[in-house]
Amino acid sequence: MSMLYEFEGKLLFKDSKIPIPCISIYTDAESIKQFAEEIGSDTMMAKGQALAGGRGKAGLIKKVTKETAEEYIKSIIGREHKGKPVAAVMLEELVEITKEYYLALMLDNKSGSYLMLASTMGGVDIEEVAENHPTEIHRTLLPINVDPQTYHFMELGKEMGFKAKTLTQFASICVKMTQMALKHDLTLVEINPLVITPDDKLIAADSKVVIDGNAYFRQPSIAALQSQRDQHTDLEFEATQAGISYVQLDGDIGIIAGGAGLSMATCDLLEFYGSSPANFLDVGGGANDEKVYKALELISKMDVKGIFVNFFAGITRCDDVANGVVSANKKLNIKVPIVIRMIGTKDAEGIKILEENGIHAYNKMEPSAKKIVELVKGGN
């Protein structure tokens, strides 16, 4: 699951014939001049491109002129917004707005079908609308193998109060959104706001597009855009390259575990015993010694007070885990306490390897979690 930048979403809209304002990506002073000529106006919007909401409130979206644009753009590009960089700035023509609407197509996990959501309360936080004005959100659940047609969305358009040409325009945008989602394996296509202009044209003024990360193998063009940006930190990127699922947290104890559920339960246990996890890390099923080494290398780059390794080996083999730990211990110069818990496939062999190298291993999860918390606290 990963999100596209607004401008990438809008380019997909354009390919799908969903109306968008005229846009361009800033590259240099010349690009601003050219864009002003293209739209026939000296005034335009500059919109910082970051993969997080609330850009307007953070001052990353501003009305500028061709004279003031560059100074503003240089002041926001590269800035961090909710932990994500402002990677680019998009120039956009001004759109005259009569009213703002909300429109989104999402894959509904419960039914497995696409669900079109629409509201006349656009431009604002839709979760707030859902919570406080639930009757203001209209829905159409599509058939699972839908071949979208305008008739699927006419009722939704009427509920939104659209009539005549605006109604057919609305239904046509819905059809194109659905076709686009089907073509690119999208789990969310959100337009907030969808605006109507004084001459009754509907235009997508924003875009939020999320693609199913599992479908990259058949969406090569989007996958190429995405590979680096799904990760939020350098370590998270490095982990993904190694096939490790890693999320940086802000606690004291670095964890390495096999399996997502067990990794979460490990984080929980550290808190339960009075400490906190520095990360979530799942090496996945069937991890070998190299992956365990890599995981320890990642953790050793962080400022942690202790490390807890927790494996219930099914497909994974404890002797592999032990070999990874032993070589990391030799090469990485880890100075903080480590507690290792391993059980399951080849656990006797694994424990023997560790003990030959002077490392004690536990076989129960809860006492070992308690142990690492004690060691970390005692070291303070």
Partner: protein, 290 residues
């Protein structure tokens, strides 16, 4: 039988000539599962572990009358393999593969539903009826026969809980691994119904995690239909969880309040389900309740 499978269930392994498929087929056979055929297109006529390989599911089902299949095939090919299985009359389809596109799963699930079959997974460890048979990758050695039914969204965390139960003297009727994806085959609800009807199951343990609404729906069903005692553990109950971040499983991502472990635990408790703070508390809760 317990639920879904027993020692008489005949199973076809899809992808049996592959590394994963042959490794796990061997462990399934050693555990006592009736693995009667394998299917790999283009490898029909071969034998693996003494089991005949067919090119198509239709041939394998016609030759063996098997009712179950398990998929150990790379994600891009799962959609086709799964539809082939269901269209060939398979009644219990288990998909172990991780990374299946969510729309593929949704469409597989629809076809399974239309054919009145059952889908377990994808991205799951499969299921085991201890002492009888297993489909998938749950280690047989940690299980023991008994009357606790387990249904879980996790893999290794389930093993942790199974082992605590086994060591405390509580064997299992059947353990079902639902899988970690947001769209999946059978969910907690269907599993609870199966355990409710199964005379061998006396206690039901539900292992959930953050994200989605499966646990909340289960709580509602417990109020309406389930008479047996239900226990639960929910992973991701700490304050460390960051909303909007995915924790390994595609399904384990919190959007809004309803997907948090705290909210799930609250709803489960309200439905009279006994919840545990740590995996080892599960057998204690059962003991206290007896």
């Amino acid at each position: 039988m317990a639920v879904l499978l027993d020692k008489s269930t005949e199973v076809i392994v899809q992808g049996m000539t592959g590394k994963q498929g042959s490794f796990h087929a061997k462990s399934m056979i050693e555990y006592g599962t009736q693995v009667v055929a394998g299917v790999t297109p283009g490898k029909g006529g071969q034998e693996v572990l003494g089991v005949p390989i067919y090119d198509t599911m239709k041939e394998a089902v016609e030759a063996t009358q098997a009712t179950a299949s398990v998929v150990f095939i790379p994600a891009p090919f799962v959609y086709s393999a799964a539809l082939e299985a269901v269209d060939s009359g398979i009644e219990l389809l288990t998909i172990i593969t991780e990374g299946v596109p969510v729309r593929d799963t949704a469409r597989i699930r629809r076809r399974v539903f239309e054919q009145n079959a059952t889908l377990v997974g994808p991205n799951c460890p499969g299921l085991i009826t201890p002492g009888e048979a297993k489909i998938g990758i749950i280690p047989g050695a940690i299980c023991s026969k008994g009357n606790v039914g387990i249904v879980s969204r996790s893999g290794t965390l389930t093993y942790e809980i199974i082992q605590h139960l086994t060591l405390s003297g509580y064997g299992q009727s059947t353990c079902i691994g639902l899988g970690g994806d947001p769209v999946r085959g059978i969910d907690f609800k269907e599993s609870l119904r199966l355990f409710e009807q199964d005379p061998e199951t006396k206690h039901i343990v539900l292992v959930g995690e953050i994200g989605g609404t499966g646990e909340q729906e289960a709580a509602q069903l417990v109020i309406e239909e389930i008479s047996k005692p239900v226990y639960a553990f929910i992973a991701g109950n700490g304050t460390w969880v960051k909303p909007g971040k995915q924790m390994g499983h595609a399904g384990a991502i919190v959007h809004g309040k309803s997907g948090t472990a705290q909210e799930k635990l609250r709803i489960l408790n309200e439905a009279g389900i006994l919840t545990a703070n740590t995996p080892s508390e599960i057998p204690n809760k059962i003991k206290e309740n007896m």
